[in-house]
Symmetry: C2
Subunit: 275 residues, 2 copies
């Protein structure tokens, strides 16, 4: 999917919501455990209930890998279901991969061809040749970790070289790479104060923002500091939507929470004159 | 496997060789393509031919992921085969994972429980809470990326803060984390000149060194600069062993090359007074 198609979808739905499909079998309604593929069945129910309110879904691959081969089958079915039934929705494999050129090509092939997702999250530590292979696919995107939402982000991402922090260096350097227009960036919502400086470095890029909700980030702050004229934001919520209720009304509860976020997002899009 | 058990194996085999099981279906002898699981069949043949010469095997997960579900089955079978038939051999899932605490636990569970490998490679960019969950398993190890062997390593790993480079900061900081004695580090052989300074920072830790052979690193330089009194090195070769020959004698050719490296390693172990 091209960035233009994603922007069109944001306009259509008045939403820049991304729903994180981080399925934990101990938290889903217990009747799913009788299904042949509980994770896929749960995802399908969530997707069917919420697809009109969001523009992207983001399965974090760790939650699937933890269940071994069965987990990978659930992931593949989930992305295939989205591509078949809701092709206008942006799919992100949140895999945070990063390896040398030769191997990065394999990862790109896995996520863009075998699983056919629109984007994959990539770690920057190994530099240019670990990322560029992800940028050679038309209509596919690498979402580079810049500033993450966890406490450990402070350990290395703020490393200061000549008054430039490592996450800023990652942003600046990555713009010089081949097909940098296919790059997006992960910026944690818990670091909203940094969004203003990040927006200056990458004025045109999409930012994927996790950390709103369960992790304590503010949607309003993120929207005020991070939105550009195309919106340029995908704000993710996972647990706050998925596990709103553990009883039979879990899908309505998920849609209600997604709808609450979508309505708030519509306000910010309107304020900015985008819709 | 504990570090002591690994050291005992190094003594027994006079070797610190790790063989990278990075299987590329376009490079293996064509008769394997008729097998039900060509990747596993090839790995099994390589393992049976070389296990007396090496102390570790390291499948890079990208090569398996690229083949989708089938690839994951091949990976699981390969590690299970090693654990059953050669339990004294150290197994490394070269996955370079890195995600926030909540999610890191899932990855740790995937690689240490579901696939039952002894170690997994982990990326440091997200900091402490992305790594510590991997260190809570008795007899299991996280191998942290410090200085990698690819050209892109220079993009960020040399970021200089108060005369300390990022990879040095990663090493120094990681020693303060819980269960740091279960940490090992990836240090590329193409950066042998940096090994001396790295050894000063982490005198007791094992270093996993890729880049000897196809990538141009020198085994002698690595051994001279990186060996400690316990050996403390695992030197990896992948393509140089796996694809020595594409005809029916591929397994003998692989064993011959592994044997050549093992003999050279024995010399360095002797020089150091370890054997």
């Amino acid at each position: 999917m091209t960035t233009q198609q994603l922007v069109a979808e944001i306009h259509k739905k008045n939403s820049f919501l991304c729903i994180g499909l981080d399925v934990d079998m101990t938290k889903i309604p217990t009747h799913f455990l009788q299904e042949e593929d509980p994770i896929f069945a749960f995802n399908k129910a969530i997707i069917d209930a919420t697809n009109h309110l969001c523009v992207a879904y983001k399965p974090n691959t760790a939650f699937y890998e933890a269940y071994g081969i069965k987990g990978w089958i659930s992931l593949q079915k989930t992305i295939a279901y989205l591509n078949k039934n809701y092709p206008e929705i942006f799919t992100i494999a949140d895999a945070k991969r990063g390896d040398i050129g030769n191997t990065a090509k394999r990862y790109a092939k896995a996520f863009f061809e075998t699983y056919d997702s629109d984007a994959v999250t990539v770690a920057p530590y190994m530099g240019k040749d670990a990322v560029e292979p992800f940028l050679t696919f038309e209509g596919k995107h690498a979402i580079l970790l810049a500033l993450t939402s966890n406490p450990g982000a402070a350990d290395f991402q703020f490393t200061n070289e000549n008054n430039e922090k490592l996450f800023q260096k990652v942003l600046r350097t990555s713009l010089t790479w081949d097909n940098a227009d296919r790059l997006m960036y992960v910026v944690g919502a818990t670091k909203a104060e940094a969004l203003t400086s990040i927006r200056k470095l990458v004025p045109d890029s999409f930012l994927l923002v996790p950390g709103v909700g369960a992790q304590g980030g503010s949607l309003e702050e993120v929207a005020r500091a991070g939105m550009n004229s195309q919106c340029g934001l995908l704000v993710n919520s996972s647990r706050g939507i998925l596990y709103r209720s553990q009883s039979n009304d879990f899908d309505n509860a998920a849609a209600q929470e997604a709808g609450r976020l979508q309505k708030e997002m519509a306000l910010y899009l309107k304020d900015k004159g985008i819709i």
